[in-house]
Homo-oligomer: 209 residues x 2
DNA sequence: GAATTTTTTGACCAATTGGACAATTTTTCT
DNA sequence: AGAAAAATTGTCCAATTGGTCAAAAAATTC
């Protein structure tokens, strides 16, 4: 049995790999690559350590697999920005999609945050090529909108940085946010969406003369 | 010699502790508490491991000392927001102070980010008490400004969260930012300040009717 | 249902880890 | 200079780490 050929994965292999990845996401997002241990992943997954190493050749392999399996999903909302749509609708929609991800996938957000914070040892390549390329395209769309007078001037790159920062903040620093606001998760994210919508609308709207 | 009484610290003790803290900041900000090792701190500081343990009783002690030594400095800009000043000037000034810290103290920013991301094991207390209290006060100032019609309505808590998020993003995720923008640090932060100033001005200004 | 393949595990290992400690060196004080 | 105190280090240790491996158990195939 070849563990590399995805096509020939048996039922058990699919299940166990999925179990391991789920547990690994928990552990890696909480402790980071270096702080996570195989023992912790073993306990979180309910498998034994050697059993995990039967499916993955090393801890780094697990980390790599988890991270690269999430990369596409993480960048996906960016692709949904259509140059044909209304600029404000498109960008508001993007912000809301990112905020929703922060609410529903905080572990994934923390995983990426930790990875980048600690020097992006595994993703630096992707950041500098694939992500950059996609972002360049979307910034070009924004610049086109500006040229067409559909949008007031704004620095596209920094606009995206700020959307990332503001939305992911609610996942990555949830402990800080929640220790300051004693709200339910629902209330918190409702308020956040209202606030961010207002910020974005004001940032993007053509000012009244 | 009592290592706890600060008053009786000798010259050598002050120097060495400072050396250790500086090296520890480097290592902790790059690897996090669990990923950092005493050996790495030893190498970074040019001291031997037992020598470090002569000044600090454990790795956790070093981490604690570094972190708590920076906490006040980190929250300080918040205290400079004066209720007597012009709301927009005060908040713009705060944002700029935070952005400056991101530029000049990225390691400190990353240290706090990692700490909070990984559950704030050491600072949760401070977050829930001291930071919350200070922030509550400043949000009250904002609410007062709103009531006095000096400022358009805005959710104070989320306003601060977004300022933190947007400014610290340039330190914490500098690798991502720099892999997308091929600029010098100077240019980058100049653009960031211009962008963030624009966002904040638009967010806070009373709209034209 | 026997043979074969896949999966699981207990026992083990070498490397790294945080830390202890006694002996030595350096600094300070008189 | 000499005694006392402080600082430094080489050596060591127990615990944890990532990972191996042969044997056992379970699943699959015929």
């Amino acid at each position: 049995m070849n563990l590399i050929e995805k096509k020939t994965l048996s039922r058990i292999q699919k299940e166990k790999r999925s179990t391991i990845k789920k547990a690994a996401l928990e552990v890696f997002s909480e402790y980071g690559l270096r702080g996570a241990t195989l023992d912790k992943i073993a306990i979180a997954s309910g498998l034994t350590k050697p059993n995990i190493l039967y499916y993955y050749s090393s801890k780094d392999q697990i980390y790599f697999d988890v991270l690269s399996g999430l990369l596409d999903e993480w960048v996906a909302p960016l692709h949904n920005i259509s140059s044909d749509g209304d600029p404000i609708d498109e960008l508001l929609g993007y912000m809301k999609a990112k905020l929703k991800m922060s609410k529903q996938k905080p572990q994934e957000s923390k995983l990426f945050a930790t990875e980048i914070l600690h020097g992006a040892p595994l993703t630096q390549n992707v950041l500098a090529t694939s992500l950059k390329q996609t972002l360049d395209e979307k910034v070009a769309v924004i610049d086109k909108w500006i040229e067409e007078k559909k949008l007031e001037y704004v620095n596209g790159y920094h606009l995206f940085f700020s959307i990332w920062a503001m939305t992911q903040h609610y996942a990555d620093f949830d402990i800080q946010v929640k220790s300051i606001l004693n709200q339910s998760e629902e209330e918190l994210f409702d308020d956040a969406e209202e606030y961010l919508t207002s910020v974005l609308l004001r940032t993007l709207s053509v000012r009244a003369p």
